[in-house]
């Protein structure tokens, strides 16, 4: 029993991380039809800069972590918005080329990060409480999982509130539904593109800082590893669906944890099989709209 609880909560923690990356991917794809390969780089740069600022101010304390998270959010948002404004926007409506530009960006930035911070992982300090465990139903659960879950819930709530309660949220939701109609009504959807990128980037940036807590290190490849799973999550959840992304990230991560434990470390393979199965039964994903 305690093993099941442990795997479940750990899976939820990992799922939280996936969600932070996948939410932005899904929104961006849903609104703009852009598959953003540079999303992992947003995460990595935010993780690195968050770590750089955090360790200079006060390493290994809550105050330092909070500052890292703030920096991560801001860096992710700014870098993502700049990417959209400088690169993606120039290729308006040419989806393959937009994806290609983000591919180039991700290759170039990962190389650049390696050049600046080196190829080896850099181990990070975290507040003492996060390194300890809490006992729930006999399972000793690392405390950082709770932080991840809480942050993902806050982000999910924030994005949902933004989409439901603000004018821009309304435009974005309408744009995902039917972009030409929104434009026909005289609304410039393109402005909301930058906002969606900034939101996605901010979530990924926060994800970057939290990933450095979860894994205990930052490296230039932090983003690329998470990005592949985030892609899988996005497709399983249904491209463009935020709820789908949330559900799928939990499903994928929990499945991965259980397979890793009970099926001898085959978590990655099981996830791929799950993706194939979902696409065969339901090509548009769990919550995706009809293509």
């Amino acid at each position: 029993m305690s093993t099941v609880v442990l795997l479940l909560v750990t899976g939820l923690g990992l799922g939280a991380l996936y969600f932070l990356v996948a939410s932005g991917l899904s929104l961006i794809y849903g609104l703009m039809g852009v598959l953003n390969f540079a999303h992992g780089s947003f995460l990595t740069i935010a993780a690195f800069l968050g770590w750089e600022v955090g360790r200079r101010v006060s390493d290994g304390t809550w105050w330092g972590l909070a500052l890292s998270a703030m920096v991560g959010l801001a860096v992710g948002a700014i870098v993502a918005a700049a990417t959209e404004y400088l690169l993606i926007r120039r290729l308006y409506e040419r989806h393959i080329e937009q994806a290609l530009v983000t591919v180039g960006l991700s290759l170039a930035t990962v190389a650049l990060f390696e050049g600046i911070w080196g190829t080896d992982p850099i181990y990070t300090q975290k507040p003492e409480w996060l390194a300890q465990t809490t006992e729930i139903l006999g399972a000793k659960i690392p405390n950082d999982r709770f932080l991840l879950i809480a942050c993902a819930l806050v982000v999910l709530g924030g994005i949902v509130l933004f989409l439901r309660r603000t004018r821009y949220g309304l435009i974005i939701r309408a744009g995902v539904e039917n972009r030409s109609m929104v434009m026909a009504l005289g609304i410039d959807v393109r402005r909301s593109f930058t906002i969606v990128f900034a939101i996605g980037g901010a979530a990924a940036g926060l994800g970057g800082v939290l990933a450095s807590v979860y894994y205990g290190y930052v490296s230039a490849h932090l983003g690329s590893v998470l990005l592949i799973f985030a892609f899988i999550v996005t497709v399983i959840g249904g491209l463009g669906s935020l709820t789908g992304a949330a559900i799928a990230s939990v499903l994928v991560a929990v499945l991965q944890q259980f397979a890793n434990f009970y099926l001898g470390g085959t978590g990655d393979l099981v996830v791929v099989v799950a993706l194939a199965a979902v696409l065969l039964v339901r090509p548009r994903g769990l919550m995706g709209k009809v293509a």
């Binding site: 290729l91 409506e93 591919v103 190389a111 194939a276």
Partner: protein, 383 residues
Amino acid sequence: MNQQLTDAPAPARPSAPAPEASGRRPLVLAIGGVALVAALATLPLLAIEIPGVLPGPTYTPGTLQLLAYAMLIAALALSYRMMFGLAGLLSFGHALFFAAGAYGLGMTLNVFAPAEWSSGLVFAVSIGVTLVLGIVLAATVGALALRVTGISFAMVTLAFAQAGSVLIRRNPGSATGGDEGLSLDITNVPEGLVGVVNTRNLYWMALAVLVFVYLVVLWVERSRAGHVAEAARENELRVRVIGIRPYSVKLLIFIVASVLAAVAGMGYLLLQSGASPRIATADFTLTLLVIVVLGGVGYRWGAIVGGIVYTLLDQRLTALAGSDFIAGLPAVLRVPLSEPLFILGTLFILVVLFLPGGIAGIPQRIRSGRKQHPVEAEEATDA
């Protein structure tokens, strides 16, 4: 979703050829091609030096090794272009089949060696086994992945490639060598293909692989299946309305391209006397995508030019990164310039933004004097 493919007409169907020239043109091209292959084949016997591009004279093993590697990558890029450029299938899993060729042959040679057979027979049968393996793998992955289109297709292929990459790194039953890679067991490999002394044979083998892949690609593109695939790329609905199922044609193209990738992979194994897990990663497929787009998606020879230019650039930029000139620069310049992938990635972004036809599209652009990207039909849906 393949708007950019439409603007660069393949040489096979030039927009306005002169009537009398169209009959003679294929002949001229064929003669030119044969002459080029012959020239390339004599390179190991000559001592041509191109400072800055090649590491040494063309007869030296180092240069031949580099050129052979470039040609194998060009062959791989050519097979990828057939899928992406001709059929419009944006796959992120092409590396899987390259790795399947390399690892498949390596593992078969390790495991499969009946004592009573001659080594030449074992080698030939191993190649056959690997090809069959490649076909089965390609048919399975293709049949599953082609049930979805567009971005979902890309994701499914990516997922399969990722699974393959994980498997290779996991090293099940120490068959793949894990992170250290697989080294080639040379007991049953023909002597002429082993060792630094025989690099020129390996070079000729790589050239043969490239020519073989080119001819197969040419044949497929000119065939009826190729035309259907091209039509389905442009407008799948119309093809369906005519009464053709694009699925089977796409699957055929997928399988042929994948098996060609496996052939290139086998060449890679022999050339490098081993395989590293790097060739199975998603990054490797992305590199292929970069090569194809860099060279020009609309042109067959674009993939070849892209493959060779990319490999040479990569090698020379790595050499440049370790040079004294770079080490003497201030950190702001030194760090980016010492990362070849950074330069290549930036170059790629610039090509996508400002040179949609790639390198192979430059002559066409100069001829037509077109500066802007043509106005394209606005179509947001995926293929």
